[in-house]
């Protein structure tokens, strides 16, 4: 498979270097196009950062989206689960075709159902959320799933490891 080499700190453009301190493979790849890097990293940081949804729910959505999109890189990274509030059993279950309902509360089950529909057919996918989430929460969930969908495709197409 054709691969684009990620850039190291010393070979990257000046404006990209602040983003490469964290050794993020995403940043190291986006450094090829510094103007994209400068826009994408803050966006990803906000979308995946602290929010009104809480860390556990957000992590659940990111991991489930990555599983649905068969993104090996993101699934591996988000299966580490540190600080997410998800247990090893939770993570293992999210990675299966049918997560165990008993491990998750009502809102989490609705979010999992949403992700499965979102990845297959975004239109109508938020219906399962309406009974459990406010409008702003639904918008946030869609944004998280959408950003993760982008990251999944980016990582898979470029072979991030």
């Amino acid at each position: 498979m054709t691969k684009i080499p990620p850039l190291t700190l010393d070979r990257s453009p000046l404006l990209a270097r602040p983003y490469l301190q964290s050794a993020s493979p995403l940043a190291a790849m986006l450094a090829h196009v510094p103007e994209l890097l400068e826009a994408t990293m803050p966006f990803v940081s906000v979308v995946l950062g602290p929010s009104q949804l809480g860390e556990r729910l957000k992590h659940l959505v990111v991991l489930r989206t990555s599983v649905c999109n068969a993104c090996r890189y993101c699934t591996r990274v988000y299966s580490e689960g540190g600080g997410s509030g998800l247990s090893a059993d939770d993570i293992a279950s999210i990675r299966t075709p049918q997560p165990l309902a008993t491990l998750f509360n009502e809102r989490e089950r609705a979010a999992l159902a949403f992700v499965d529909r979102f990845c297959a057919q975004p239109s109508g996918s938020i219906e399962s959320l309406r009974a459990h989430f406010r409008d702003d929460e639904i918008v946030a969930l869609v944004t998280i799933a959408g950003a993760t969908d982008f990251l999944n495709r980016f990582a898979t197409a470029l072979g991030l490891e």
Binding site: R11, P13, L14, P34, E35
Partner: protein, 268 residues
């Protein structure tokens, strides 16, 4: 002669029109050679960028490459640039056939200068670094250009062994003033680095003059160098070159974040 000079402002916008060259100089920053990847800038793109550059306040243009006159549309490119702003083109001076010289007469009425690379008044010394037969062609081209009313400058890439006294005598003999003689050191990038030539150049040593290439906008004309066939993007500003304010904004931010001092090298 202008020796190592002051940092140029970002008033000049450079175009790297192509990367291939009929010569294969030992210190070339871009590993240019006849079969080098061309990385050519479309003429239409050059003209669109030039129009925006005028609006954004650039005050002159520079054209550099491998060898610009390998492009058959170079006279028209220079005419287009020269009608907008003063323009200098860096050339090895070996391709000025009578036919090309006739096509260049249209530049005589414009503020367009040819900066011809010449490293020594001694043919053997010059050609050892730049390629056999070059000196004789340059010696023929300079008076031919001047006779057509085209301003000629001399650009010398020097090391500690360069005999500038005899070189200055030579350019004065053509009627080229000391003000039109630029001397810069060999910068250890590209093929010069491969050959262990020249002096190291840090970021702050490079002239801060935005440079447009087919692969993006760079901090300086000495920035988009090539070694082992790989373009160095350490000083890449942006891949986006239009609208031009994208790299202009990036350049301003780089300039505000990096320690600046008077640049040590001057290209023109």
């Amino acid at each position: 002669m202008i020796a190592e000079s002051t940092r140029a402002t970002r008033g000049r916008l450079w175009f790297y029109t192509n990367y291939h060259c009929n010569l294969e100089c030992r210190y070339c920053l871009t590993e240019s050679r006849p079969d080098a990847p061309r990385r050519s800038l479309d003429r239409e793109l050059i003209e669109t960028i030039a129009t925006e550059a005028v609006e954004l306040g650039f005050d002159s243009f520079g054209v550099t490459s491998g060898e610009p006159f390998l492009r058959t549309d170079m006279p028209e490119i220079l005419e287009s640039l020269g009608t907008r702003l003063p323009t200098v083109v860096l050339t090895n001076g070996t391709l000025f056939t009578p036919r090309l010289l006739d096509r260049l007469t249209l530049l005589a009425k414009l503020p367009v200068a040819m900066q011809i690379s010449l490293d020594s008044a001694e043919p053997d010394v010059n050609d050892a670094m730049r390629g056999a037969g070059g000196f004789a062609k340059i010696r023929a081209a300079i008076p031919a250009l001047i006779a057509r009313g085209i301003r000629v400058r001399i650009g010398t890439t020097a090391d500690e062994g360069t005999n500038l006294v005899s070189l200055c005598e030579l350019h004065r003999s053509f009627g080229i003033s000391d003000d039109d003689h630029v001397v810069r050191p060999i910068i250890r990038r590209g093929r010069a680095n491969t050959n262990g030539l020249g002096i190291e150049a840090a970021f702050e040593d490079l002239p801060a003059e935005m440079t447009i290439t087919a692969e993006g906008a760079f901090w300086s004309p000495a920035a988009p160098t090539v070694q082992n066939d790989r373009l160095d993007i350490s000083y890449l500003l942006s891949r986006t070159v239009l609208p031009l304010d994208v790299p202009v904004d990036a350049m301003a931010r780089v300039g505000s974040e990096q320690p600046l001092r008077e640049g040590a090298f001057r290209v023109t």
